[in-house]
Amino acid sequence: MVIGEMDSEADERAGALGGKPRYDQGVVRDDAQEIVDDPLRLIDPKPGRSSSTSRVDSQPGDSEKLMREHSIRTNRRRKFVECITREDVDIAQLRKLAWNGVPDELRPLVWPLLLGYLPLPKPTRASTLARKRREYSSLVETTFMRGRDGLDQQIWHQIEIDVPRTRPGVRLWMQESTQRSLERILYVWAIRHPASGYVQGINDLATPFFQVFLSAYIDSDPEEFDTALLSDSVRMAVEADTFWCLSRLLDGIQDNYIAGQPGIQRSVKRMAELVARIDAPLAAHLDAENVEFMQFAFRWMNCLLMREISVQNTIRMWDTYLAEGTDAFSQFHLYVCSAFLVRWSKKLQEMDFQGIIMFLQSLPTQGWTDHEVEMLLSEAFVHYSTWHNAQSHFGGK
């Protein structure tokens, strides 16, 4: 099934020009239903589809650099494919590979494996997936059985306010169909986690999963895609997978969202202590200007930097976080936040209180690509290796 303005042949040509083509509504893959049933289908070579195979062929005058990059990409992809097509995936190997970034087209398969949502042994995967999706469907059904009046009004009200404010301006998220999916995901999660319920910012955290899982079934840009084009079974698969993976991520950071938000308080405090050690002049300057870490880093923890960097950047960052394990979203993250702050050290040290706060509220990361994110992750890793086990250096303990 191909929906959209161009036929599949033209689609492949467009793909060969590099980047995902943009259409008025988007293009659903012919084999979407097969991928629902068996996500390993994503690996099947489809000539012209994968961005890694198309570019070089069409450009005879490729420079050596491009050729080299291409071969590195192909090589990396092959390693991933080898790893995830084994009868039983070696998780250590997968983590190692994923730390340095997952190829876009394999991410919908790799993330669930890293999260433990998709079982590592191949034979049980399809049945587990089918069961988890059924389970989600029935959760949705029972939760919304009694209509609006049967809902927790306070939680529902907050979700209703926030869903239209999730990635405002991005077509995918402005659509009725996507917004209803997000509402269900957030509400079902909230009532199953009464200690926290829905907290603003959790909506942001659902979006990378949704976009990544959606990308498995379509041949166009997920952010421009009209989810009304999806069949019910594909939509439910995207929604259920998003729900379960979001749940796993949040399991590791629930302390961030319960009363008093102790997880965030702790992380911000530790971040301040860490920055005092890795960049003493910056810490002293912030202190002299009466800037408190809570004034800017609260959001960095609450939304995992999603308000500071693009979703594309976030997705690349999560490759590494997921490779580190789910506690990376609280542990490793604070090292990333520290490295992120220190990155602007020179600028910040020339600013006064107001300048600092305003600057940290709208950081110039608009042009950031994977490269900047990877630099940040490497810097964070260096700090992590140095300090993580040096607990006695932290006053709070």
Binding site: Q158, I161, D162, R165, T166, P168, G169, S196, G197, V199, Q200, G201, N203, Y257, A259, G260, Q261, I264, K269, A272, E273, A276, R277, D287, N290, V291, E292, M294, Q295, F298, R299, N302, C303, R307, E350, M351, D352, F353, Q354, G355, I357, M358, Q361, H393, F394, G395, G396
Partner: protein, 212 residues
Amino acid sequence: MTEQSNFDYLFKVVLIGDSGVGKSNLLSRFTRNEFNLETKSTIGVEFATRSINVEGKTLKAQIWDTAGQERYRAITAAYYRGAVGALLVYDISKHATYVNVTRWLKELRDHADSNIVIMLVGNKSDLKHLRAVPTEEAKAFAAENGLSFIETSALDASNVESAFQTILTDIYRIVSSKSLEQSEDPIKPTSGDTIQVSHSVDQNQSQGGKCC
């Protein structure tokens, strides 16, 4: 890089009220003359400033916009400290946001300076056909509780300037009369007009445990 510090008074003001009543847009309308229908929710607090002139003096407002959701109260309440003014915002088209004003007043009583100047702000006055809170009712409530009152629309900009102008002027009057009374006090600075009414952040230095 940063705004020159040529102001006579620096006032810290907080924007509080339920989620979705338009606090962030009131702030962006006042400080940047911008309104955005597609605004993300505020997480924790956000900050902006603007200076205005009152009776020949430059008043600089340092405004902290807070997240409306209950869960954030623990975080946002810390910003009430040192605030000399609060704009307590509700949505004239959502009655529940007006009902909650009482709870917000309690928050302020519990966490803010007892002399804080409070203004009740009924926002979204452009939504005339959806009005759920009568102006007179809110006005009477404000009078009973010693608050000033205004209806605004961040969308069509009506009364936004006036709301901030009024509360900043009120604060200025109180502060300038106080500094007059205290001008004999030898501890207070007597030279010049600059009074840092708001030491917004310096009370918390003891918060983080330092390494040995």
